[in-house]
Symmetry: C2
Subunit: 209 residues, 2 copies
């Protein structure tokens, strides 16, 4: 009964990875790939059009991030089941995705058979969080969270701007920028901007791009 197959939407910006995933899933008798998307927009549009049972979502997508796509999908349908499948290992990535409604979070290290099992479990309403991911999430809870403004400032530091420029861009004084950065340094446990950017990139607070 092909009507009873789990209908999967597959979202990844790398064509060859998408093709590989689709092939892996298509080989199962109890599931089928009903659509593929390469950007966040495409993912949201196809979700509405296809109403898949499970959406397999990479976080690293051009134009609109996978995180934003998850938000929009979950806002439109609180019962939507989205599995994150990504190479991002940062605790902040994991926290944000699960906090925004992802059913679970898998790294691309995952074995094909495990992915298949998780798709079935999530379709059945479970939320099987891998131990490694759970551990990272616990680490995250121990860390002080940056505020939205602090992330905004740090992002501009990462782009290579000086404090004065950042102040001008955000319409606040250079002094205030310094205050935000001081707090960022405290929270990230570093003593200068390059180290802060480094930590932020590794923890998934910022991303290349």
């Amino acid at each position: 009964m092909s009507d009873e197959r789990i209908r999967v939407l597959c979202v990844d910006d790398h064509r060859i990875v998408r093709d590989g995933l689709a092939l892996i899933i298509s080989q199962q008798t109890d599931m089928t790939v009903v659509g593929v998307a390469a950007t966040g927009e495409e993912a949201v549009a196809l979700f509405h059009q296809l109403r898949p049972d499970v959406t397999l979502m990479d976080l690293q997508l051009p134009v609109m991030s996978g995180l934003e796509a998850i938000r929009q999908i979950r806002r439109a349908d609180g019962a939507a089941r989205v599995i994150v499948l990504t190479m991002y290992r940062g605790d902040e990535d994991i926290y944000r995705a699960l906090n925004d409604g992802a059913a679970t979070y898998l790294l691309k290290d995952t074995v094909a058979d495990d992915l298949i099992r998780v798709i079935r479990a999530v379709h059945a309403g479970e939320r099987p969080i891998p131990a490694e991911i759970k551990a990272r999430l616990d680490e995250h809870a121990d860390q002080p969270a940056l505020t939205a403004r602090e992330v905004e400032v740090l992002e501009l530091v990462y782009r290579g701007h000086r404090n004065k420029e950042i102040g001008a861009l955000l319409n606040i004084s250079e002094e205030t920028v310094r205050v935000h950065l001081k707090n960022v340094f405290l929270k990230l446990n570093v003593s200068d901007r390059t180290a802060a950017v480094n930590v932020a990139l590794h923890r998934g607070i910022l991303h290349l791009g």
Copy 2:
């Protein structure tokens, strides 16, 4: 004649991607995956053991990079045919890989059918460089190259070290570190260290990790 199939070694650190690629290749009647590796060391060891016709190599590998693996493989066998398959789009990545003996360079955006065609072409002794990659390589030629020492200094800046610390780590004076950085800024066309790191990450001169 299974003996006449193209024997492919598949190197990628993400298990699910490796599985997907292997599945794509295995579906062809004229090629077969004889081995898979997840690190540079494994890749080099398996190359010697299996002597594949074509090696499909990601650049982003733990412990030993794909670039270093290519160097070691090509040093051992100047006729070895290695296809780079990576998400790295930096001109420096492309330059280094092709300069160190890769037969061609594909992005993970590549369509499965194109990958298959390139594997056949490379096995036949061709070097089919995609137009996009060729264009990036031309851009690279217009840019002044950083010296090994300059990259070394920039790497430590990226790690968050101050000039004084970098001097101590490299056993040179802080003054010399400043000179190297001045030259880096000139070559990368930036005016401070965070911008330099940003450009270096995007061009593939440095990598996360």
